[in-house]
Symmetry: C2
Subunit: 394 residues, 2 copies
């Protein structure tokens, strides 16, 4: 049988990161390529407690079919929490629980994007989201990222040049992969431009709670008086990614379409895990847990940057981070970055080549991404030492 | 803001069944409209045991990111089990774990169907799948269902008339909603026709293990020597639907595309629940559990049919079932079925109007679907008594 696939997927490739995981499976390879939370960051004891309790008290509700919108108490508690802590969400918004934030990208693409429509995104940006947009045959237009977020002149040019732009996709806090946080001024400007051009903003904020230095910047959604912003939040980095529980706060008409699309996508998100997240954020001290995560990751981030300074300077430079899980490293302009990453793998350290995060993977790129949350301190030192040795021998 | 949705979803409506659930939320209403497993059918104690164990022994793996293909031991054990018990799956196939079987419909649609391509399905068929196909702008062509499955002459005509047919979607066992099981002869004929016309078969088998009388009929996938059949299996009816764990056994090239699409859809299925399903089918007596479910549901099905005989004859006729969770009831040709269903809701009993299951909902239909697994025996008697009273007073 010769299989004929749909036009939208015939050119779709497996995520470069997921493919790199195959090398990472070799126990001798130090993987700096993942984006997994640190093993010490999981509230495993609390999850086990809650799980045992809800299964004992309410087994049928925890295991039975549920509604596509998500578990009602979790939706209510998240709306209250996000309003109180982040001034995010209004009476014009509603909230849907999704199977990870990746599903928010999928449902938004499905609901909002016709084939050939434009999604404007940071260049570089999160490969998983880019691939979802691609899978709906969206045209990706990348806008360069300054040290304080998307370049606003370039964004305006992109909006002016693309009347069929439907979405601006942004990760405003500790962006994956660049580590950059968008300034409040730029958030305001992006919102104005979105309003002016009648384009929606998809604000993806998986790392917002993981700030290690500096002050929080308000979410773009907190500026949303016109119903322009779709906010994607997630428990993947702060409770557990394996449970696949995320949430989307968005204007009610969009919410209604996302719910219909979710019915056809997976009916509803694992309800057991929704119960667990709900109890964890309401019956435990969620803010204290977040503070503990910040403590864990501040140490790891500082350690990682110190190692980069020690072993990789001056050949590898990097953008100092205030939060998140990634550091964006740059090689000298005369170095062949993809070749460098291949050599690194042969030397048993795995990083993600930066062009994987571009809207056009064939564009020239001298950066690569490393992650410091997954490896142990020993692995971090071993891996970065190898990278430094390779870079400085070039 | 005036929202512009994509062409594919602008005409998409919420599932009629999910909308009916809103009436069913009224505690005074007897709902015969759901498809939920019976509360007594959940292995809640075993799930709690397994969950406590895996969270104690292996907390990080259970809560961490995992791979899009699914938990490797579960995939291996399911392939072995399905080969041994149902001669289903070969060396040319692979298996992907999905977030409920609904996601199999989504991933197959995304991978295989261009806008305007034809999906041939039973008429009536499962509304959830039809809506997924619709959400990719597939054209649905319904083929009438005889008492031994899809009418093969009509199927051949549909294949001949639609050269852009990509999929034949079938629920061969205890079809939802008709309750019909396809004969082996027709399965063979469907396979031949699929081969002749170069069309894939999507075999959806959520109820196969719930046979109450008669002999098992081989899966269409067990006849698949040419790589034509995509098999969808699910734990929703036999362990827990709330966990959203299903599996798809299909030819390797299709598997590869489904994995890429799943990366963009939800990255992977809740891994904790995959561990639980794996331990349940390997460390417990899964076949004994299935036998227990059959015992529970045989009783409920027999009871339901006896109530229909007692209260609803002669006005309401029905197709006697050998398995599954649904009974397809027919009103006399001169009765306005949608009006009957509305009157039933006013009289506090909720059923699903049959036209919801048609490829064209505006087609005339005199049937409605009732479910006997969710209501208690008391609710069943109360509900069917009301239906009988209404029907016999017409």
């Amino acid at each position: 049988m010769e299989y004929k696939f749909s036009d939208r997927v015939s050119n779709l490739k497996p995520s470069a990161i997921r493919e790199i995981f195959k090398y990472a499976a070799d126990p001798e390879v130090v993987s700096l390529s993942a984006g997994n939370p640190s093993p010490e960051a999981f509230p495993a004891k609390e999850i086990a407690e809650i799980s045992a309790r809800v299964l004992a008290e309410n087994p049928i509700s925890v295991l039975q079919y549920s509604v596509s919108e998500g578990y009602t108490p979790l939706r209510q508690h998240l709306m209250e929490y996000m309003k109180k802590e982040h001034n995010t969400g209004s009476d014009n918004d509603d909230i849907i629980i999704t199977t990870g934030a990746q599903q928010i990208m999928d449902l938004c693409s499905k609901s909002l994007i016709n084939e050939g429509d434009v999604v404007i995104c940071e260049a570089p940006s999160f490969i998983g989201s880019l691939n979802t947009f691609r899978s709906y045959n969206a045209k990706l237009v990348g806008v360069k990222v300054d040290s304080d977020g998307m370049n606003m002149e370039a964004l305006e040019s992109a909006l002016a040049a693309n009347p069929n732009a439907k979405l601006i996709y942004t990760i405003p806090n500790f962006q994956n992969p660049s580590g950059v946080t968008m300034s409040l001024e730029k958030r305001r400007r992006m919102y104005e431009l979105a309003k002016q051009y009648g384009v929606l903003i998809l604000e993806d904020n998986p790392y917002g709670d993981l700030r290690y230095s500096g002050d929080n910047v308000p979410n773009i959604k907190s500026l949303d008086t016109d119903g322009l912003v779709i906010y994607a939040g997630s428990f993947s980095k702060v409770i557990s990614p394996g449970m696949r529980v995320a949430y989307c706060i968005c204007p009610k008409p969009i919410f209604a379409k996302l719910v219909v699309c979710k019915q056809g996508n997976d009916v509803h998100t694992n309800i057991w895990s929704q119960y667990v997240c709900d109890e964890f954020i309401t019956k435990y001290d969620f803010n204290a847990h977040l503070a503990k995560l910040r403590e864990i990751y501040t140490k790891k981030a500082d350690y990682c940057m110190a190692l980069l300074d020690k072993y990789c300077a001056p050949k590898i430079t990097y953008h100092k981070i205030d939060g998140g899980l990634f550091i964006w490293c740059e090689l000298p302009k005369d170095v062949d970055m993809p070749q460098f990453c291949k050599t690194a793998v042969k030397n048993k350290v795995c990083v993600v080549p930066g062009n994987a995060f571009l809207t056009d993977e064939n564009e020239s790129c001298h950066s690569f991404r490393i992650n410091f949350s997954t490896p142990t301190d020993e692995q971090l030192e071993k891996g970065i030492k190898i990278l430094g040795k390779l870079a400085n021998s070039l």
